[in-house]
């Protein structure tokens, strides 16, 4: 080794090589500053601001602790209704996605010829890359008064039009691939020989499905449901595009930041989906769904 290779960069490199803790500190510094300090800090301030209020006369923040926002949230019927409606929409979307996804994923993993499987996966993945907004827009055109759906059903006004039904339909459409993919991945890991062994031992298709396929399916469905549920719960864009006059939690949060200029109340409202999601994650964790993500 010639002496000319011993530059300062090289000396620094070997110094770091001998001190792994320093290397670790170097690797972690920027990411931890960004996510741990800046992002978590921002979230913490948001949470704290839920306990503040806005002076209704001047519009200035009053940084004094109060639980008034949460009291309003729990006692006023509007907010209870919107929370229940959002939960209902998220649950309906999850169920619809699961009902559609299970047969499709089963076909992809177990029935289709192996050489077609790859193409089917691509066919399910491709729409994920198409813009969210474009897909919601496509449904706005489809469901428009006198649009294609109306035309198919026999004339203007015959289709469902914009509203809560359209929101559930479009959200199911948007998140369906997120449900299909984990179920497909779970089923693909299930060896065909187990299904054959079950049949050889005399089990009918229904019995095999209950005792072998279902235990694989349940954690995969829960894994998919984390996406469908949380993405539906926080959505407010689709609601604005095809929801007509209906409102979900996200819309209320948005309205309180923009028009109402009430950040503390918006923050209090925003804790609702977060709390629901945490409860949902804890409940779902028991099924082993988090390992399926």
């Amino acid at each position: 080794m010639s002496a000319s290779a011993e530059g300062p960069g090289r000396r620094a490199g070997s110094f770091l090589h001998r001190h792994p803790r320093l290397r670790l500190a170097g690797l972690l510094s920027a990411p931890v500053l960004w996510l741990g300090v800046a992002y978590l800090g921002a979230l913490a301030v948001l949470l704290i601001s839920a306990f503040w209020s806005v002076n209704s006369f001047t519009g200035q923040l009053t940084k004094v602790f109060t639980v008034q926002n949460f009291r309003t949230l729990l006692t006023e019927e509007v907010y209870r209704n919107v929370t229940l409606r959002s939960l209902g929409v998220a649950a309906a979307v999850t169920v619809i996605c699961a009902v559609l996804a299970v047969p499709m994923a089963f076909f992809m993993a177990k029935v289709a010829a192996p050489r077609y499987r790859r193409w089917l996966v691509i066919a399910i993945l491709t729409p994920l890359w198409a813009s969210y907004l474009v897909k919601a827009y496509a449904w706005r055109v489809l469901l428009a008064n006198g649009g294609p759906v109306d035309w198919l059903l026999g004339g203007p006004g015959r289709g469902p039009g914009y509203g809560l039904f359209a929101v559930v339909l479009v959200l199911s459409y948007l998140w369906l691939p997120y449900m299909i993919l984990p179920i497909y991945a779970g089923l693909e890991r299930l060896p065909d020989s187990m299904l054959e062994a079950s049949a050889d031992l005399g089990a009918r298709a229904g019995r095999t499905f209950r005792t072998i396929v279902l235990p694989i399916l349940v954690p995969s469905i829960f894994a998919g449901s984390i996406f469908t549920f949380s993405l539906s719960l926080g959505d407010y864009i689709t609601v604005q595009i095809v929801g007509g006059k209906s409102q979900l939690i996200g819309n209320l949060v948005y309205a309180n930041i923009g028009a109402a200029n009430n950040l503390p109340f918006a923050a209090a409202l925003a804790t609702v989906p977060v709390v629901i999601m945490v409860i949902y994650l804890v409940a779902v964790r028991r099924s082993g769904a988090l390992e399926e993500l």
Binding site: L16, L24, L28, L35, Y39, T126, L133, V141
Partner: protein
């Protein structure tokens, strides 16, 4: 499980219907971009390409596209650096709080976008703005990078788990400096994971609207924001439709790329 021929056909039919459900709305946008009727009367009576030239000459859409590309590139660059750093730290070291850190990285995409959006917005207004840096393109990049880190992290972490450290040890034993080892051994090993992660991160940033709404400064319009702003203006409908059609056609490119890079799993982790 031996399925009867009938249930095989039933499943095949269901799969077919499912694919129709997934693709018909997208096809409709493509067809409508040639629909001669300004309000998309259905079925279309005449076809025209004039909306395409109108979209091409629409400076608002073109500027928005440029802004989106800039924001996407900036966010992807930051995410590539931070995501790679964290994945090396998590995979190669044992330290206190490692599990918490991997949870922390997922947080920005696990929480509803509106929560991340408001949090960043109020933090920016109360901490960064007093320093003289108002909201603008930069704050959009910061917001997007926050949730793009996890994408790069996932891809690189999976690659590091699979490759192990044997090759790097061998390189060091043969006398390479840490810099040389990184350049000739480690980097080529993770290159395709970086590409796949960067592609996903860019796509995610390009498509993002909620966090963008809250972090964009006045006058900063990304393409999703532009589409959303023009969605409810009837006389802009044909141009919006052409932009949507272009985005659908473009979405085939990353799929093709991802297929070449890493097989069908590449796009699965997108949220």
């Amino acid at each position: 499980m031996t399925l009867s021929g009938w249930s095989r056909w039933a499943l095949r039919g269901f799969m077919g219907l499912g694919l129709v459900f997934i693709y018909v709305p997208l096809m409709l946008v493509l067809v409508n971009s040639f629909n001669g009727d300004r309000t998309f009367g259905w079925p279309p009576h005449d076809f025209t390409t004039r909306w395409w030239s109108a979209a091409w000459n629409n400076s608002g859409a073109r500027d928005a596209l440029l802004t989106s590309v800039k924001a996407g590139l900036g966010a992807t660059a930051i995410a590539l650096v931070l995501g790679t750093m964290v994945s090396f730290a998590v995979q190669r070291f044992k330290f206190f709080g490692r599990d918490t850190l991997s949870l922390l990285i997922i947080l920005p995409i696990a929480l509803p976008g509106i929560v991340t959006g408001i949090a960043l917005d109020s933090a920016w207004r109360s901490v960064v703005e007093p320093l003289g840096i108002g909201k603008g393109l930069f704050s959009v990049i910061v917001g997007h990078a926050t949730f793009c880190v996890v994408i790069v992290y996932n891809n690189v972490l999976a690659r590091l788990r699979r490759t192990g450290t044997n090759l790097e040890d061998a390189s060091a034993d043969l006398g390479a400096s840490p810099g040389q080892t990184f350049r000739y051994v480690t980097f080529p090993l993770i290159r395709s994971a970086l590409l796949a992660g960067g592609l996903l991160a860019f796509a995610l940033s390009f498509d993002e609207i909620i966090v963008t709404t809250f972090t964009a400064g006045p006058g900063i319009t990304t393409l999703p924001i532009w589409i959303f702003n023009n969605l409810f203006r009837p006389n802009q409908a044909p141009v919006v439709n052409v932009v949507a059609a272009i985005l659908i056609v473009l979405s085939v490119i990353p799929v093709w790329f991802a297929q070449r890079l890493a097989g069908p799993e590449a796009g699965a982790s997108r949220t």
